[in-house]
Amino acid sequence: MRKEVYSICLMCSMRCPIKVIVENDQVSRIEGNPHAAGIEGRLCAKGAAAIGLLDDVERLQYPMIRTGPRGSNNWRKASWPEALEYVSQKLKSIIAKEGARSIVFGERWNLSTHISRTFMNAIGSPNHFTHDTLCKGSMNTACRSLFGYIDEQIFMDFSNVRHMVIYGRNIFEALDMRASKQLIDAMARGTKLTYIDPRVTVTATKANRYWMIRPGTDLAVNYAMIHIILKEDLYDHVYTERWVSGLKELKEFVGPYTPEWAEKISGIPAGEIIDLAREMSRDKPKVVFNFGFRATNYTDEVYFRRSIMILNALMGSMETPGGLFFKKDPYEVGGQPPQELNNQKFPKINPLRFDRVGTPDFPLPDPRTGVAQMLPRAILDSNPYPIKAAIFYRFDPICSIMDSKQTIKALEKLDLIVSIDINHSDIAGFSDVILPESIFLERTDSVFRVDGLIPQMFLRRQAVTPRYDTKPGPIILKELAQKMGVGHWFPYETMEELVDWQLSGTGFSIADFDEKGFVAYTDKPIFWERENGLKFKTPSGKIEFISSMFENAGLESFPEYHPLPLPPDGYLRLICGRSFFHCNVATQNNRYLNDVLPENVLWINQKTAHRLGIHDGDRVIVSSSKGDGKIKAFVTDMIHPETVFMLHGFGHQNPLARRSYKKGVSDAFIQDNATDRVGGSQALHSTFVKIKPV
C-alpha cells in the first residue's frame, strides 16, 4: 500500500517541511513539502539521508541498563516497564534524600520541550535547561535588550534585500533551506553579499566582498561602521527619531572608535570599512546586517550581536521589505496558538537554578533555556547545591559542552545518568539507563507553531511503524511520570491525543493537516505600520540602545571596548564551524553522511604551517590546556594566519557507533569552557592551541 505523509524533518534543527512517500510501511522517498513556501519539494543531503537512519542497526534499539562500569558499554537489554521502574526508583530515592532540585534535565530544544518542562515541574525541580546557550544564547539576550523580543521572533527578508552583510554565518554550507535559496536567487538578481569570516567558506566563494578578519574583532569593525554612519549622517533619521532611544549616548560612545582604530585591531583597511558603511546606507532600508545563527564565539558575544542589531536599526531596516521583520503570532488575527502542557498550574518551586540564571550573579540569560555549560562546575562544586541525577534528552553534554574531560569528571559524580536518545551517542555510552526514542519518521510530535508574516502550524506525523522497541519522547516521559506518581499532569495516552489537546481552541483539527502538512491562521501577510504600529516589547516601547534590561541589572549598555587577548607566541586560535553534511554531533554515524564526510581536518594557514614544518595531509597533534587530538592538516591560504579551524562534532568515543568511532577530533575535548557572562552563550572560539607534527 502506498501513502504520502506530510511531516517535518529532524536530520538537523531547521525543521523543514517534508513529504514522505511510504510503500508497504517502508519509506521509499523523502521530498521537501511541495506546498510549503520556500521549500517547494527541495530538501538537503541530510534530509535525503534520513532513510539511512531508519533501518540502521547501529542506532538504539531497545531500553538498556548498564551492567559494567560507566562508559564500559556493558549492557543488559531491558523491557520498558523494567527500565522505567529502575529509573523511577532511583529518582525517588534521590528526591527523598536530596530534594527534587538535585535532578537536572537537559535537552536539545525540540517540539515537545513543553512536555519535558511539564515533567520537571511535576517532580518539582527548577533545573530544566536546553542547548540554547551552546548555540545562540547571547543573541537571544541581545535581542531582548533592544526590542523586547528574542532572536527567534525576528527574521530577515532574504528575497528582497539589496545588500546583506554576513559575519561568519556560513549560509551556503550550514543550510537554511529557505533562506539560502532565497539569497542565492536574490544574488542572481543583483543583491550584494559582503561576507566577513577568518576562513574562506563556500559562502565566501559566492560573496561580492570578502574580509578575512582577525577572529574576534567583528565588534570593533561594527563600532567603526556605526562611527562613520553617525558622523557622516548615513542613518535613517525619521525611523530612529520615532523608534530609537539612546542615539545620543551611542554617538558619544562610538566617538573614539574610528575606522583607523578598527583597522589596527581587525586588519580590515579603514577605507573598506567606510566604503561598506556608505554602500549600506545608499541601499537602506533594504539592507540587512545578518544577525547570524550560531552565536557562541567570544566572551563579548552579546555586545557584538547588539552592535549588529543597532546597525539594522540605524538603517531603518527593522520591519520593512528587504530588511528584517518581527514574526507575527496568531493573536494578531484573533487566533489562538496551540496549547502547551507546561502552562498548567504547578505547585510553586524554589527558582534557584543550578546555573544561577535569574539571580544577581547571572541576571540576563533567558531562564527558559538556562545556561547549559554551567552544569559541569555546578556538579563538581555542589554549588549552589548538590546535583545527583541527570536526564539528557537528545542532548550530548560530552560533545556539546566544551572541556569534555571536565564534563566527564562531573558526570562521574552523579548517582544516576539517563539518556533518551536515538544514537549510540557519547552520552548514551556513559549513561546508566538508555531509553531509546523512535526517530522522526516513526512518531508523531507536538504541534510546531510557526509565527511569521503569516502565522502557521506544521505537524510532524508518523510515517512508518517503529523499526525497533522505541517510543516517542513525550510517551516515555509520561510513563516515567506515572511510575513517579505524577502521571496526572500528562492527560494523554497517545501522541494523537496530545496533538488533539494542543489544537483544541485553535479552530483547527489534526485532519486539517492532511491536505498540505500545515495550516495557516490567515492568507494575508501581516505587516506593522512603520510610522506608529511597531510593537516593541521594551519598557519604553522603543528600540533601546541604552537598555533598561541591562541598566536595571547593573550592566553597561556600552562598555568600553577591550580587544580580546591575542594568541601568545607559538599558539593559534581554534575556531570551529559546520558543513553541509552533518548536524552538530548527531549525524556522523549515518552511513550515507559518514560516506561523504567521515572525519574533520584541521585548516591551517600555509605560512603558519611552513613555520611549523607541517605539510598538507600530515597528521598533527592539536593541543590546549584542556586536551589534545590527532588530526589531518589541511594547509591552505584560505584561513587567517593566527587561526586554525575544525568542523564541530567529530571524534566520537562510543565504539557502538562504529562508523564514527574515533574518526577525527572532537573540538569539545580541546576547547575551554568559557562563557559570555552577560549574554549567556558559551564562547567556543576562546581557546589557544599548539600544533605540532605527529
Binding site: 521509499s28 522517498r29 521530498e31 521537501g32 519539494g41 527541495r42 530538501l43 538537503c44 543531503a45 535525503a48 539521508a49 532513510i51 539511512g52 551556503f172 554550507e173 543550510l175 533551506m177 539560502s180 535559496k181 542565492i184 536567487d185 544574488m187 542572481a188 538578481r189 543583483g190 550584494k192 574562506v200 563556500v202 565566501a204 566563494t205 559566492k206 560573496a207 561580492n208 566582498r209 570578502y210 553541509f580 553534511f581 552511513r591 550515507y592 559518514n594 560516506d595 561523504v596 591560504d637 584560505m638
Partner: protein
C-alpha cells in the same frame, strides 16, 4: 546525445551534493557509487576574492557511447526512443570495461552487487512526467532538465539576466 539536456547554473551551485545523495538513496543503493557528483574546484584567489567552481557531473549520454561499444554482454545500452544510455543489471558481468573507457568517470562500481551502475536520467521517472531525482532535490534550484530546445531558451534568459544585472561578479575560474 539523448534528446534531453541537464543544465547546471554554476553561479547558484554551492556543492552541497544533495543531488548525489537523493539519487543513490532513491535508487536504493549503498553509499559508495556516485551516479552524479558535484566536483569542487578551488577556492583560489581571483582579483582578491576567493572563488571556487562546483561542477555537476553525471553522464553525458553520448551519441556514440564508448561504454556501449565495449560492453561484451550488451548490458550497456542506448535507449532507442530518446538516447538515454543505461545498463541492464542482469546482463552486467562486472568486467569494468565501461569504467575504463569512459573519459568522464560516469559508470560506477557497486560493491553490493559486484556490477556496474550508472546514471539513467531516472528514465522511470521521466517516463511518467517527473524530473530526475538530482534536479528535483537540488536545494539551490540550480539544475534544470528538459528537451534540448527548451534548454537553449533557459541559457539565453540566464545570459541576459547577467547583462541586465550588470553588477554581477565576473565568471568564476575553473583553475
Amino acid at each position: 546525445m539523448s534528446v534531453y539536456y541537464l543544465l547546471q547554473d554554476i553561479d547558484k551551485c554551492i556543492g552541497c551534493r544533495t543531488c548525489e545523495m537523493q539519487c543513490k538513496i532513491n535508487k536504493g543503493i549503498s553509499p559508495e557509487p556516485r551516479l552524479c557528483k558535484v566536483v569542487g574546484i578551488g577556492p583560489k584567489w581571483v582579483d582578491k576574492l576567493p572563488r571556487a567552481s562546483y561542477v555537476f557531473m553525471n553522464c553525458f549520454h553520448c551519441e556514440n557511447p564508448l561504454c556501449v561499444a565495449v560492453c561484451p554482454t550488451g548490458a550497456m545500452q542506448k535507449r532507442e526512443k530518446d538516447g538515454i544510455v543505461f545498463i541492464e543489471k542482469n546482463r552486467c558481468i562486472g568486467c569494468k570495461l565501461c569504467l575504463h573507457v569512459c573519459p568522464w568517470g560516469a559508470p560506477q562500481w557497486n560493491p553490493e552487487t559486484g556490477k556496474v551502475i550508472k546514471c539513467d536520467l531516472c528514465k522511470d521517472r521521466i517516463d511518467v512526467g517527473l524530473l530526475p531525482d538530482c534536479v528535483d532535490a537540488c536545494p539551490m534550484g540550480c539544475l534544470s532538465f528538459g528537451s534540448i530546445d527548451g534548454m537553449s531558451e533557459i541559457i539565453r534568459i540566464q545570459y541576459n539576466m547577467h547583462l541586465s544585472v550588470g553588477e554581477k561578479i565576473g565568471p568564476v575560474s575553473c583553475g
